[in-house]
């Protein structure tokens, strides 16, 4: 029983991070019908921005409440800017071109970021993994029995931050004028323009929002994993992409559920077997979901619009 609860805690903590990254995939897919394969790498860049900001703040300040908030803000803002630039200069010119063109561009940006960051020139960090600063000093918040179940402070904080971001996003998408415009653009951007909606601006803002969420998620991931390295985006990005597809790509609550499920399934299978199974489980789970529901858990099959 204690095992079970411990796995539940770990699974939820991991799952909320997947969910946050998955939200970025799903939002961008929603407005552009593009799998933004660079999304995970934008997250990685966000983690490096957080890393640099923490170093600048120094040991004391980086783990103060204000310091942590500043680290999140700078990383999320920086990633929003990067998302804006990628959309504006890489994807927008290809908007009316065949989808495959944009997809290959996305893969290109992904590689450019993940391999570019392995260079050791100028501000680029080089390939070696680095220890992510302890911006949240790990302490045990709750210990049950003889350390049968341990709940760490960072797990709670991470879940709270992730849930806070998700709830805000949910509100934004479903209750505000901007969200309405975003959903309209996602359904049919030509008709959305007829409503006076500035489609380009909505798409750019969506990119920025997704990228900012990725930065937030990346920091949480780095706190959990305690390491930073340039290829982390490929790995986490792929997992989050799986989560988005499981939930039904383009479906905002679906991404959250997909992320949580993936986190839980991975944790439980790994917990009761061996950690070498982790990735096999993730993709096996994806295959099973897609066999049963090709549109994902919440997705709807829609006929391609003409």
């Amino acid at each position: 029983m204690a095992d079970f609860i411990q796995h539940l805690i770990n699974g939820l903590a991991a799952g909320t991070i997947y969910a946050l990254v998955a939200l970025g995939y799903t939002m961008v897919y929603g407005v552009l019908k593009l799998i933004n394969f660079a999304h995970g790498d934008v997250m990685m860049v966000g983690v490096y921005i957080a890393y640099a900001t923490a170093k600048q703040l120094g040991r004391g300040a980086q783990s103060s409440l204000l310091g942590v908030m500043l680290i999140f803000l700078v990383a999320m803002g920086g990633c929003a800017l990067i998302g804006f630039l990628i959309e504006r200069f890489a994807y927008r010119p290809l908007r009316e071109k065949p989808r495959l063109t944009a997809l290959i561009t996305a893969i290109g940006i992904s590689f450019a970021l993940s391999y570019g960051f392995q260079l050791d020139i100028g501000f680029l960090p080089g390939a070696a993994p680095r220890a992510f600063p302890e911006i949240i000093r790990p302490t045990e918040w709750l210990v049950i029995g003889d350390r049968d179940v341990v709940l760490w402070n960072w797990q709670v904080i991470s879940v709270l931050i992730a849930v806070g971001l998700m709830v805000s996003l949910q509100y934004l998408v479903f209750k505000t004028r901007f969200g309405r415009a975003m959903r309209a653009v996602s359904y049919d951007h030509r008709t959305a323009a007829l409503m006076g909606i500035p489609v380009d601006r909505i798409i750019a803002l969506t990119f920025m929002l997704g990228s900012a969420l990725a930065a937030g998620a990346g920091i949480l991931y780095a706190i959990k994993d305690t390491a930073v390295q340039p290829l982390m985006g490929l790995y986490v990005g792929l997992k989050a992409f799986v989560a988005a597809v499981i939930g039904g790509i383009g479906h905002v609550p679906g991404a959250v559920v997909g992320g949580l499920l993936l986190g839980l399934v991975e944790e439980f299978v790994v917990g009761y077997t061996a950690s070498t199974w982790r990735d096999a489980v993730a993709f096996g789970f994806l295959i099973i979901v897609l066999l049963v529901r090709p549109e994902g858990l919440f997705g709807r099959i829609t006929a391609e619009k003409v």
Partner: protein
């Protein structure tokens, strides 16, 4: 090119919309070969023609959904050729596109709110909503429902209401009768007449020539990308060519 056959006289009005030598092509396919038409303040102008004649392309070029290959479009004398669609709504032009363009993933209410996307006058928006409910009471009962659950007729009512939510002076309508039962068509056309009497000018695209020409002050007959004939609605309705080609008489 000999130009269109002109039947009858047109009552002069202040010009609202003017289209000159408009050409539209989709890649190698030419849809419009240089058409000219005009619409006066307060007028209903019908554009009729067979499938593929270029009616929808005309509306799309006017509302900025596509960029014309050549020609000039002016609204109240202002050149709007090639302007982006979302910049034209503030100039008082709303377009209910072919296929209705309802956001089926949004509620009826959200669809209507999007029609008023650029407006901030809450009171005005509310009174326009009430006007739509007056025209189409069924929409009021369906407000919270997903638009995808509406019937075809209800969706068309929503499309027209949504377009009116921007309080346009010019309404572009693409085949509002398509796929609807006769009573519903009659109701919708009755309301179009009301809307027009309230001062909204309408450019109406229809395959149903009888309906459209009955309502319209003036009409244009489009044939494979060219205007074949123009004249007052009733005059066109009475002409032998139109009767033979479009009214099945």
């Amino acid at each position: 090119m000999s130009g269109p056959a002109v039947l009858g006289e047109r009552t002069p009005r202040d010009p609202l919309l003017e289209v000159k030598d408009l050409q539209v092509a989709y890649g190698a396919i030419t849809a419009l070969r240089g058409i000219s038409l005009s619409l006066g303040q307060g007028e209903v102008v019908a554009l009729i023609g067979a499938n593929g004649a270029g009616k929808t392309s005309t509306l799309r070029a006017i509302s900025g959904m596509l960029r014309p290959k050549a020609g000039k479009i002016t609204l109240r004398g202002q050149d709007i050729t090639g302007k982006k669609a979302h910049t034209l709504l503030p100039l008082g032009m709303a377009h209910a596109p072919e296929g209705r363009g309802i956001f089926l993933n949004l509620s009826v209410e959200e669809n209507l709110q999007l029609g008023a996307y650029l407006r901030k006058d809450t009171d005005g928006i509310q009174s326009d909503l009430e006007q739509s409910f007056g025209f189409f009471p069924v929409l009021k009962d369906r407000l919270q429902q997903l638009a995808g659950t509406l019937s075809g007729g209800e969706q068309q009512m929503l499309a027209i209401s949504r377009a009116l939510m921007s309080r346009p002076s010019l309404l572009l309508l693409d085949e509002p009768s398509l796929g609807l039962a006769p009573q519903i068509i009659e109701k919708i056309f009755g309301i179009l007449r009301d809307i027009n009497q309230k001062g909204v000018s309408i450019l109406l695209v229809e395959q149903n020539a009888h309906l459209a020409l009955n309502l319209a002050h003036y009409g244009y007959v489009l044939e494979t990308g060219e205007i074949a004939m123009t004249g007052p609605g009733k005059t066109l309705l009475a002409s032998e060519e139109v009767k033979k080609a479009y009214l099945g008489e």
